[in-house]
Each structure stands twice: as C-alpha cells, then as structure tokens.
C-alpha cells in the first residue's frame, strides 16, 4: 500500500470543487511560485516550525480514505467528494492513483488541484480516476512563467492539452477541467494576461469554467517561520477579484467566477 506525507485534511471545503468536499493536501511541490500561500507544502519531508509544530505526517492511502469517508453523508447530499491538493499531488502519482482508485470504488466524486507540472506518463493512469481537474494557469508567458514558478510553461500546457483532448473525446462527457487563475496585482493581471487566459479557455472544450483566485498573503508568516522567501504584498480589496472576473468574462465564452 502506498504512503505519502499529508500536511492537512480540510473538511467541509466548499471552494475546491462542487458541493461539500474534503481536501487532502499532499506535501511536496516541484514549483516555487513566488506568491505561494502554502510554502510549508514545498518540501517533500515532514518538517517542524521552530516552535516544534509538526508539518505533515505519513499516511497510507487507506488511512486517508477512512478519514475522507467519515463525511460521506455530506458528499451524498451536496454532490461533493474528495479533492486532492498540495503541494503538487502529481508529484506522488502512485499514491494519488491508489487513493483516487479507492475513492472511486467507494462511490466518491474526485477532483485534483494541480499545476500540471509532471511528466507525460503520469496522466494516463489518472484519467479515469479524476472527475474534475482544477488546473492552475499562472502566467502565459514562458519566460516570466519560469521566473515566477521555476517550472517551464510548455510542459504544463502540453499536459493540459492532452488531458483536455482525452476528456473532450469522451461521449457522453463525464469529466471536465476548471482553470484556476491566481491573480497577483501587477504580476499576472495585465490586459494581455487576461486576454491570453480567455483564449486558452476557449480553445479547450473540456474546460467548463474559470475560477479567479485573488492573491492572499497567507504564506508570508509561514515562509518566515521556515526561513523561506515568498512574495510579500498586501491583500487586494474584495473589488479586485470582482474586477478581474468582469475583465476575464469579456475574453471568454466560459463562465468565470470567484470560487
């Protein structure tokens, strides 16, 4: 049985897929997004904050599923289920596949929150196990994408198109993609950025929706405690998110909303 380091299990999650969900956060991420709000997820190892608080514990897929299944009544009445996030869940593909397989066998709706940064072979076994891909779109300029995330955009876009093509070929369509757009003022929210995101969404039939995720500075304190560095800026006001949604709506036929 596969095991992985889990650093959080969030119950009654309502912004990470449809209905009421449980989000399982896997530790470890190959990206280093400058605006990351969970720098404690970067390392693949169990860590401690200086005050001794432990970040992460090793769990088997069976243990994780047992925890997730405690809330099955909530999923059943709301159309919710399990979301696996991180870190980057695709960095633990074997564990992810095993967990999602167990979840599907238990009748759960499944979602994966991902940057899409993984080798091509990771995706095929996961395709039948993921009902909803929550796919980050961070910056559609290759050079700047690498500057801001330390990972190449080309690989991510290639993976996105492959997954899209596989899902779009299903008949009837059962699985889908939501593009998640972190928006950081002055970094990736310019007119060109927004236009590019809209074009991308419209080019992908399996994309059903776009979610705008305004920058939140929740990672600053955690980064400092761990001796890491993240982008530091004030949280934009609520109208920022609404403005981005309105702008993006003008450039895509797909629904756009705040999660």
């Amino acid at each position: 049985m596969k095991r992985a380091i889990v650093f959080n299990i969030e119950k009654f999650a309502t912004h990470d897929g449809p209905g009421i969900r449980t989000v399982v956060f896997l530790k470890g991420c190959p990206l280093r997004c400058m605006w990351c709000h969970s720098p404690e997820s970067w390392s693949f190892e169990v860590e401690r904050y200086p005050d001794g608080e432990v970040i992460g514990r090793e769990m088997s897929s069976e243990d994780v599923l047992a925890e997730v299944l405690k809330d099955k009544d909530f999923y059943d009445v709301s159309g919710g289920g399990l979301t696996v996030s991180g870190g980057e869940p695709l960095a633990r593909p074997a564990f992810l596949a095993e967990l999602l397989g167990k979840a599907k066998a238990a009748g759960l709706h499944t979602a994966v929150e991902t940057s899409g940064a993984a080798t091509e072979k990771v995706f095929e076994p996961l395709l039948p196990l993921v009902d909803l891909w929550l796919w980050d779109v961070k910056k559609l300029d290759a050079d700047k994408h690498f500057t801001y995330t330390k990972r190449p955009l080309a690989q991510i876009l290639a993976n996105l198109r492959r997954v899209n093509d596989a899902l779009a070929a299903e008949s009837p369509r059962k699985r889908s993609i939501v593009l998640r757009c972190p928006m950081i003022p002055g970094i990736n929210d310019g007119a060109e950025d927004i236009e590019a995101v809209g074009r991308l969404a419209d080019s992908l039939p399996a994309v059903i929706e776009l979610h705008v995720a305004p920058y939140i500075p929740y990672g600053i304190d955690k980064a400092r405690r761990l001796g890491l560095k993240v982008y530091e800026a004030p949280q934009p006001p609520p109208e920022y998110g609404r403005r981005i949604v309105a702008a993006l709506t003008r450039h895509t036929a797909k629904p756009v909303r705040l999660p």
């Binding site: 009654f12 009421i20 449980t22 405690k70 009544d73 909530f74 009445v77 709301s78």
Partner: protein, 793 residues
C-alpha cells in the same frame, strides 16, 4: 344598509359589493405589496400600548387589572365562606366569575378576537394575579405542602433547586401546556361539551370525583362559549361608533359574524382557522391558567381552507397576506424586543409557530402558506413567534434553501426539527402514525402531539453539578438536598472514576423520580384543569384530570444538562491521569480545586484543552457520551411517572448554561470558576475547534432513539455558508438522526461592530438558546458569550 350577518363575505370586494359600494382602492393597496414592516407600524403601536414595556407580555389595561382582581376577590370570599371547598369547587367559582368579569379586547387594527391580556397564560411570571385561571394556584398552592406532600420532600426539592442541581416545578412541570388544537379543529368546544355530557350520563354513581370533574368541565366550557360571545358584543359595540373607517368596519363585521360560531364550532375557513389558533391559546390560558405555548401548524392545517376560499372568491391573496402579517405581528408585540435582555427569562414571550413537516400521509408540507409565513417573518423584521421548522431528508430544496437564505441574512429565529427522528420516536411511544406526523413544536424545542398529550417537560437535572459535588464535597448541601455523593479521590482507574460519577448521578436521579412518582399526582388537588383536560384525548373517557393521568399520553421529559462538560471532564481525567500520567488523580483534582491557579495548574489546564472532547468525533468522547445516554436510559427504562406514563430523556438547556455556570466552580474540562457550560449536544465552547462535519459526525454517533428530544445550538461562520449549503447541512442533520438544530450564522466582525455601532445592526437575530433576540438587545455578558462561541466552518 347592513351586510347579512350570517353570510359574511371574507373578501373586501364582496363586502363592499354587498353594500352596493366600490371597495376603496387604498383598502387593498398595502396588501398588494410584499410584507413590509412599515405597513404595520400603526397596528404595532396599538398592540404595544396594550402590552407595555414588560417581560412576558403582561397587560396593564386598567379594566383588565381590575377584572382579574375582582375575580380573585370573589374567589377569596368564596373560599373564606366555604373552608371545606376543594379545588374543583374553586375552579367552578372561577369559571362563573369569569363570565361576570371577562373583558373582551378587540384591539385597533386587529382582525382577530382572542385577546384576554394574558399572553396565553405566560405572563403568570409577573404574578398569579395577572391571569384569572391562576388564582387557583395562588389560593391552593400552599395545600400541597400543608395537606398532601411531606414537608421534608419539599425541603429537599427546594434545596436542590436553590443549589442549581435541578430546575423543576412542585413535583410536576406546571409551565408548559400544548393547546389542544386538533380537538378544537375537529370537534370545536361544542363537540367537547357533547362528549362530557355523554360521559356524565354514563358516569357510575360511585365515581363522585369523576362526576364532579365532568360537571365542572361543563361549567368551564360554557364559560369559554360566553367569552366567545362577549367578542360579538364588543365588535357590535365598536361598530356602533361614529366615523369608523371602511377598513375597520370590514374587520369588525367579520369578527361579529365569526365570533357567533367559532371556535364553539370548528373553523371552516382560513380566517376562522387563524383566529382559532390565537383564541385557543389565549382563552384557555385565561380560563384555565395553563401556559399555552404554540400557535399550531397553520400551513399544514389551513392550506385547504386557504385554497378553497381563494377559489370561491371569499379571500384574495393580498387579504390573506394581510391576515398572516397581523397574525404574526400580534406575537411580536407582546414584548418590546429592543429592551435589554440579561435575566433568566427577559424578553421571553414563548410563542412558537410550527411550519413545514409532513401531512398525515407523510407527504412533505411546503406550500404557499409556508412560504408566506417565512417571508412575512423576515419581511416584518420579527423576533416572535419563534419559528419551528419541521424538515426531513426529503424536504423540498426550495424550503430548506429558504430557511438557509434567512439565516444568511442574519435572521436566526429557527429551531429546525427532524421529522425523520421525531416521528419514529412518537410511534415508538405508541402514538398512531397519523398523529405522530402531526406533531407541533411547543416551547423552546419540544415536539409534541397536541390534544393527545399532557406535556411535562421542564425537569432539568444538572449532571455537571453532580460532577462538581463529587470533586468539591459539601456535606451541608448534601444533607439538605438529601443526596449521597461518593468521592473519587481514591479511585485507582479511570473506569472507577467514571462509575463513581455516574452512580452519584443516577442515585440522585432515581431519588428525584421516586419523589415525582410518589408526589407529582397530588398536584391534581391544587390545580385541576377540567376544561383543558376535557380537550385531551382520554381524560373524558377515563373521567380523570390530565394531572391525574387521564390523557392518552403522559410522558415526563427528564433533561440531562451539561453532559458535554461531564464528558470533557472525564476525557481529561482519563488522558491526564491514567493514560499520559502527567499527574496523579489527587494532584489533578487539587489543580481543579485551586481554579487552576496552583503551581503547575495552568500547564495541566493546557494539557486538558488538548485532550479529546465532546464534538471532536473521537471514540474517546463519543464513547463516553454514548455511555451516559445509554446507561441512564436503561436505568430508568422501567420506571413509570405519577400519571402512569414513561420517563423519557432529553438533552438541552435554557439560559442556565450561562447563569448556573456563574455559580459553578472549576471543573476538570478546563472551566474556570464561573465559566459557562455546554448547551445540549453543542460542544463546549472552551474546547471546540472542530468543523461542521466533525461535530455532526460526533452527534450522529449517538443512538438518538434513546432520547425523546435533544438540541444542538450551533453557530456557522457566515463566510463559509450559503443557502444551498444550509440545505445540505439540514439534510445531513436528518440523516445523522439529530432531533433538533438551532442554527446561527454570523461573522464575528459584524457582532463586534454591533457592540460599537448598534444602530447599524438592528436586524441581526441570534438564537441564544431556546429563544432568539436581536443581538443589540442582549446585555454585554450575553453578547460576549455569543461572540466567543465557536463557529463551525
């Protein structure tokens, strides 16, 4: 030209057509709009003038005060002249005096005839002289101790009440009665009278007391009829006034016609149905001194009348909306809901209204009346009536989301009852399925089958107090209250600690129940209720008062109060003293007794706060809660109360969680001296960090079929919720088998701002415990308590 009285047309158009006039356009203008508080300001003012700024809705009209006093004087004179009289004699004289002195009030703008100035009997809290039917309690109450119940029994009862060990009446609960709506809706008071006459005719000669009870019931029923007809005369008197507006003429004509008939006869249209709900509540409270909570289930019971009246042109939708608005505003105006709330029952009008649920065939009830009542309640910005919404897992989505939407707007006035739990529980007690499905909600959180049940519900037993006494021995109090407490200090295992605390409690409880069984029935000698009893199934046939066990069903509800604190305390003791062995039991108890202030005390307390607790869904805490409920229910399963009915369990609490908490010393769950206690199945506020699903799963781990009722007063973080999510949460609550949810939904930021700028947040309602209130009306200590509540997300 006069309208033919016997064929009064309910609709304004028909009324004026009969007069050969066009209905004034202004008459209907207000009724065309959705419910708006501004449209009823004049009506509210007239009601508020009748009920001045006073708790419990006591009327101060001089005629009312004088009439109640005259009735009391006449009764006192009768008793002085007849020293050998019994309670039935006094009841008879009371009924006769009421015919002479009853003052019928038809308040300005009110379309209803029901007002007797007693708020359903609830204003007895202002003194027995407030309610004519309670004079008998003033006169006869001392008889209980003088004639029927040993003084030592009273002494220990009083000591137990004084010592915050229990809340109870004089061996019965004399404070909660369900109006017998089903009886009156099906038979009318006249039908009840016929049954009493029949029973009297066949009453055996040797049953002198049964015969007397029936004879006095006839006198009382005829008094109810006289009171009903007094409203006819009052309406006609007001109709004779010069310069009456068209609207007032319409209103009074309708009263003059309907009051000739109903509810002596059962209601036959929407208007009569609405009026019957108020009339039965108020007039039985006046006549019998019963405290009549509940305004019934208007959406379930009146929907056929409503649709027929609309189809026949007897009623229009705007007129129905106006009647609904006034029906509700009457409840809200018994108090000034903006006055400060601090004491035990400040601003408690005890007027609940039941909506939703299912019909006799089990089909969901959610109809145009349900929606109208809900819309009116929030549109008119009401606190009362309390909304008791019955739901099931199969409730229509629109209904559940409507409740959720109201919560999202800060209108937390709900107790949400789970039919999927209550109905099977009633059937297990023997109620026929159709009656079980028709249950109403009475008081704060009791679901009950009206007309078949004598309700006895306010019997709260503080399990936490027994725990406290186990830790802090008080031999004087133990002697006064006649309780035996074994100490735990020498216990060598956790199971020993658990068992000692349990046996201390169950020994106390069995003693209390033995007193109830032995002495509760004596209350019939001091507050027999012939009229009320004649309306309950079983009493007439058995020729026995409800207090003597005549009703078909007579459960006594025993509340296990503050179980959350007890479970948390035991979890802490197990972890600290017997698992982690951070401290010996004696050292741990010493830290508790020092209010955690001894050296190392606070460190121990921090360890306690990290231990399992009720609500964390751990087997440690779930198992202990199950242990308590299962064990107590088993230990009292075979006991019968004084009426021959069962003792049944509940888990809820009123304002005692704060007020008794103030008097309780530190406890092993981490409470300091004076800290508040836990409500019902809600986790203790000191410990809970869990989310919605964890708490629901914890509550769902219990066998709720062992409980007659329970409550979970839970606060939801506003930013985490919406109407659709509330609907999902309600369905899960049903699936988990919970009896009752009392949801709040707010952001702490709003409440903190409301403390500084109350004028900006007048409409935030909080379900504090069994009552709701405007947040800004709560005193600071109640506001702070609400702000500190853990919000589920």
């Amino acid at each position: 030209m006069k309208v033919k009285r016997r064929e009064f047309m309910g609709s304004a158009a028909a009324f004026f057509a009969a007069l050969g006039l066009d209905a004034p356009a202004a008459l209907s203008a207000a009724r065309e709009r959705p419910f708006a508080a501004a449209d009823y300001e004049t009506f509210r003012k007239s009601l508020r003038a009748f009920y001045p700024d006073e708790c419990h809705g006591k009327c101060r009209d001089p005629r009312q005060v004088a009439s109640v006093r005259m009735i009391g004087n006449e009764l006192d004179a009768y008793v002085a002249a007849h020293p050998d009289c019994d309670v039935l004699d006094i009841r008879r004289e009371s009924y006769l005096a009421m015919r002479r002195h009853f003052v019928p009030y038809i308040l300005p703008g009110s379309p209803f005839y029901c007002e007797a100035g007693v708020n359903g009997g609830w204003c007895v809290w202002q003194g027995a002289e407030s309610v004519p039917g309670r004079h008998i309690n003033r006169i006869c109450r001392g008889w209980l101790e003088e004639r029927y119940i040993p003084r030592e029994a009273f002494a220990r009862l009083r000591a137990r009440r004084r010592g915050c060990l229990m809340l109870t009446g004089d061996f019965v609960d004399d404070m909660h009665h369900i109006p017998p709506f089903h009886t009156i809706f099906t038979k009318g008071f006249r039908g009840v009278r016929r049954e009493v006459e029949t029973a009297l005719a066949s009453c055996p000669a040797e049953d002198a007391s049964g015969r007397k009870g029936l004879e006095v019931a006839l006198v009382g029923l005829d008094t109810v009829h006289e009171i009903q007809l007094a409203f006819v005369r009052e309406a006609e008197r007001q109709l004779a006034a010069v310069g009456l507006s068209a609207e007032d003429r319409l209103r009074l004509e309708r009263i003059a016609v309907a009051a000739r008939r109903c509810p002596w006869e059962p209601p036959r249209d929407f208007y009569e149905g609405l009026n019957t709900l108020w009339f039965v509540r108020e007039i039985l409270g006046y006549v019998e001194g019963t405290l009549n909570f509940s305004l019934g289930r208007p959406d379930a019971w009146l929907i056929d009348f409503y649709r027929r009246d609309l189809a026949a042109g007897r009623l229009t939708e705007p007129e129905a909306r106006d009647l609904i608005a006034r029906f509700l505003v009457m409840a809200d105006c018994h108090l000034d809901t903006r006055l400060e709330i601090d004491g035990y029952s400040d601003q408690e009008a005890e007027i609940p209204l039941t909506l939703g649920g299912c019909d006799a065939e089990g089909r969901p009830v959610y109809n145009e009346l349900t929606a109208a009542f809900l819309d009116a309640h929030i549109g008119l910005d009401l606190v009362f009536p309390k909304l008791h919404c019955r739901i099931s897992e199969k409730s229509p989505q629109e209904y559940l989301e409507k409740i959720g939407a109201m919560l999202m707007r800060g209108h937390a006035v709900f107790a949400v009852f789970n039919d999927d739990r209550h109905i099977p529980n009633f059937m297990a007690l023997g109620y026929p399925v159709a009656r079980a499905r028709d249950y109403v909600c009475c008081g704060c959180w009791d679901g009950n089958v009206d007309s078949d049940t004598n309700l006895d519900t306010a019997n709260y037993m503080s399990v936490a107090r027994i725990l406290e006494l186990t830790i802090y021995r008080d031999p004087n109090f133990e002697r006064e209250a006649r309780i035996t407490i074994d100490p735990v200090d020498d216990a060598t295992s956790f199971e020993q600690v658990r068992d000692i605390v349990y046996h201390n409690f169950i020994r106390f409880l069995r003693d209390v129940l033995a007193d109830y069984t032995r002495y509760g029935g004596e209350n019939v000698h001091v507050s027999a209720r012939p009229v009320y009893s004649s309306c309950l199934t079983g009493c007439v046939a058995a020729r026995r008062d409800a207090l003597a066990g005549g009703a078909a069903f007579s459960p006594r509800i025993i509340t296990l109060a503050f179980l959350g604190n007890v479970v948390d305390s035991l979890c802490a003791i197990r972890k600290i003293c017997f698992e982690d062995r951070m401290a010996t039991l004696p050292d741990f108890l010493a830290a508790v007794r020092s209010n955690w202030k001894c050296p190392g005390g606070e460190a121990l307390r921090q360890a306690v706060l990290a231990a399992p607790y009720w609500g964390d869904n751990s087997e440690a805490s779930n198992g202990l809660m199950r242990y308590w409920i299962d064990s107590v229910s088993e230990d009292i399963r075979d006991l019968k109360n004084e009426k021959g009915g069962p003792y049944v369990l509940a888990c809820w609490i009123y304002r005692e969680f704060l007020l008794w908490g103030l008097k309780m010393r530190a406890t092993p769950d981490g409470r300091y001296d004076g800290d508040r206690l836990a409500q019902g199945f809600a986790p203790s506020e000191y410990r809970c960090k869990a989310g919605v699903t964890t708490v629901f799963n914890a509550i769902g781990s219990l066998d709720h079929s062992r409980l007659y009722a329970s409550n979970a007063n839970l606060a939801f973080e506003k930013s985490a919720m919406n109407a659709e999510l509330f609907a999902a949460v309600f369905r899960v609550a049903c699936r988990k088998g919970m009896h009752l949810l009392q949801p709040n939904c707010y952001s702490v930021e709003d409440l903190l701002d409301a403390q500084v700028h109350p004028e900006r947040h007048q409409n935030i309602m909080i379900k504090v415990c069994g009552f709701s209130a405007r947040f800004v009306a709560l005193s600071k200590r109640w506001q702070d308590e609400v702000i500190q509540r853990h919000r589920l997300h």
